[in-house]
């Protein structure tokens, strides 16, 4: 067997190995209920802002504390705490994708991805990230 063929085989093996490893990193979209089952683990949760409930962001008190209530796909509402500033146009977001974990009754999130009805007809996606 030629050396290049051996290298090729090694590369294929590495590539498969890499894909299997990285696929382990992929997250899943959950609901509050399923995330609650595995408390303390991080998930993506999709939902909408519950506009009836209060939204707190007071930078004078704490510039890194923003809380609101989100209703997930099953209709369950939970308080969400985001350690960062309130993202631009937050109230107007049609849909939220949160990354974080359940702790007690609250959902602690470190990333908010918003889908905004933009000034155009199309979808515009805005993002607010807090580096971990």
């Amino acid at each position: 067997m030629k050396k290049t063929n051996i290298v090729l085989l090694v590369v294929i093996a590495v590539a498969i190995g890499v894909i299997v490893t990285v696929a382990g990193d992929f997250s899943t979209y959950e609901t509050f209920a399923t995330a609650k089952e595995k408390e303390g683990k991080e998930y993506h949760i999709i939902g909408v802002l519950d506009k009836a409930k209060e939204l707190t962001y007071d930078p004078v008190k704490d510039a890194n504390y923003f809380s609101f209530y989100m209703k997930d796909k099953t209709g369950e509402t939970r308080k969400v705490i985001f350690y960062g500033t309130k993202p631009t146009d937050f109230e107007k977001a049609e849909q939220l994708v949160l990354t974080g974990k359940i702790e007690g009754n609250e959902f602690h999130c470190n990333k908010i991805l918003m889908k905004c009805p933009s000034k155009y007809k199309d979808d515009q996606v805005a993002m607010s990230t807090k580096q971990m």
């Binding site: 030629k2 050396k3 290049t4 290298v7 090729l8 590369v11 590495v14 590539a15 890499v18 894909i19 490893t21 990285v22 696929a23 990193d25 992929f26 997250s27 899943t28 979209y29 991080e42 998930y43 993506h44 962001y57 930078p59 004078v60 008190k61 704490d62 510039a63 890194n64 504390y65 350690y83 960062g84 500033t85 309130k86 993202p87 631009t88 146009d89 937050f90 109230e91 107007k92 849909q95 994708v97 990354t99 470190n110 991805l113 889908k115 000034k119 155009y120 007809k121 199309d122 979808d123 515009q124 996606v125 805005a126 993002m127 990230t129 807090k130 580096q131 971990m132």
Partner: protein, 818 residues
Amino acid sequence: METKYIGEHLLPGQLGHFFAVLSFIASLVATIAYYNAVRAKEAPLEASWKRLARWAFIIEVVSVFTVFGILYYILYNHYFEYKYIWRNSSRTLETKYLLSSFWADQEGSFLLWSMWHCVLGVILIFTSKKWEAPVMTVVSFAQLCLASMLLGIYILGYRVGSNPFLLLRQAEENIGLPWTTSPDYLSMIRDGNGLNPLLQNYWMVIHPPVTFLGFASMVVPFAFAFAGLWTRQYKEWIKPGLPWALFAAMILGIGVMMGAAWAYEALTFGGYWAWDPVENGSLVPWLTLIAGIHTLLAFKHTGQALKSTFFFFLISFVLILYATFLTRSGVLGDTSVHSFTDLGMSGQLLVYMAVFTIPGFTLLILRRKEIPDVKKEESTYSREFWLFVGALVLLIAAIQITFTTSIPVWNKLFGLNMAPPLEPEFHYNKIQIWVAIVVGLLTAIVQFLKYKDTPRKQVTQKLLWPTVAALIITVLIGWLGRINFDTYGAGFLVAIYIMLFASVYAVIGNTAYIFSGLKGNMKSAGASVAHIGFGLILLGALISSSKKQVISMDRMNMLGTGFFGKESKENPRENLMLPRNFPVQMGDYHVTYAGDSTAAGDPKTYYVVRYEKKDPASGAVLEKFTLYPDAFVNTKGEEGLTPNPSSKHYLTRDIFTYVTAVPIKDNGSDTAKYSQHEVQEGDSIFFSNGYMIFTGLQPQPENGNYKPAPGDLAVGAQLQVYTKNDEQYKLQPVYYIRDSTYQYSVPDTLFPQSLYVRFSKIMPKENKIALEVKEAGAFSDYIVLKALVFPYINVLWGGVLVMIVGFVMSIYRRLKRN
């Protein structure tokens, strides 16, 4: 009945659409004619086909440029009856950003891409001689595909392309709306929607043209490889194709790095690279083309690796088309910040990808046996063997990035529900760091190997000193630079150290090679110089990312709200509130927010942020500078802000600052009212945070805001303020009568206490004065900002420049040799 609309400018749109259709037809003719020129057996027939093809291509070039000109014309004149203009621009937009508007949307950017194809096509017609017909068949065909994106014509009920000259009233979403039947609807549309504030940046003016030149030039190496397969001239295409491949790699590389610079300068990614799908989309084809260039060199010198060269050249352009599909079809949905909007052209984009992929790879598979190959075994001490290994490592990098970026595609294809990784940066970094290590080491060593075989002794001899030097420098950087990035554990830190060595080694090895291998012959040093640049890019990326430091840590509130201990590591509290004129300690600096400012004709608000570095012992100011991070506040009725960062650049580091929140400034929010006090000399007035004593009147008042004029009767009230924190201040509000009739008062303010005092009246009878005191409930003027220090980021940018120089040197040399 036909409605007569008032004030519309229909001629440019009709002309524009005509030329868009003409460019489609002309490129169809050019494709067919060039195809026949390749197939023609007799010389006269070939020549006549070629003549036709050239004319068709020239007509197509003229059409594309005309379309470009017309679209720019209606954009410049703000003809909002056109949807594209209405959607992407506004009257208030600065003229320099009109070009940004031009390519802000799908149609304009396809046009830009198509324009570059035209330019490259004309150059190819003049320079590629016998390769003109087959290569231009491919280029014309690519033009045909791009032209179809701008057609906007219904064929069999399916809309092909999207016409940039579509009228607003004819747009799908507006059909049937009442205003579309009103003849004077234009009088109601006074202004367009405006350009997304994120795109109002000079990078947006220059980055897309360069990136699309990169995209456009990628078709040329593909075309040469395809032409080689098609005409069965498997080896001959290499020579004319190589400079084009180098050119494409250089331009696409610049485009990618410009995107990184844009992200760094203008977007709030918090850095220059975020592994965003759009960034990945152009990086992956670059990686595979670099791999292809290296296997091509191996083939050129030894006859090995021709098949893999074909593979890399073909796949690179296919990946460009795949990136186009990802970013333009809307499939990325909520995983990317800056993908284009869905125009309902996913089908067409898939066809575009298929018509290049299928013929290319079918030919490669069918004719694989005909492709010349050397049956001899390579030596482990040969350059070609390791070039091949390096190319495959780059391929692995490409596969991993593509695999993760394509998550939304997998979801669609297999009906899955996968989400992107929780920590995307680490997800990519932990694999790519090993790729970078192997590539860095190979870059350092392989130059010292000769093609076919190298005497063992010579390798060790020549590598000894560079290796020792690189080791020493690595240890020094690691020791003095205190690289201890342990967020992801010790294992990752080890990887960082190995990569540190690999990148230093790449720089040193290639520098040494210029002297010991090439004997200082700079003419053929292009590759080495490019490799040095590449090593510096790796080094700069590594140091600036692993030593990146957030200095705007909010330490004050850490205790207050109870996020201490375990939580505090996870929630670094990176935003800091700065009340106006109140210095706050941040890292080594005292930072003061000194107010905001706006300028006429510029929609942005600039925030003045003063940095001061003081000697801790003496308190003397060591260093002082002001940054002006800016933001679009409340654009188009949107609440909130779109910030742009501002950085202080040093040779060795950058201080990067951007505003993350500002209070909503409207007059109604200042609810605090003045309370009236009538006081005699010696009386005190209490406020929430202390008290003040009225110590007497002063006939010649001293107040910065009072400008005396002759004939003024002016008096100042001297106030001594004592706060709870034992601070003392003096205030002096002024009361005066000008021209014997008008009464004025100049208030005085105490910013740290948000205290406002107004001197409203003198009551000579009671020997009293009236003072009005207002306390804002809280700091009413503040900003919340985030500040980061990026050390040695200039190594990265410097590396990019060095790499470009290396590419230019190589291209020049190859062209001279041809």
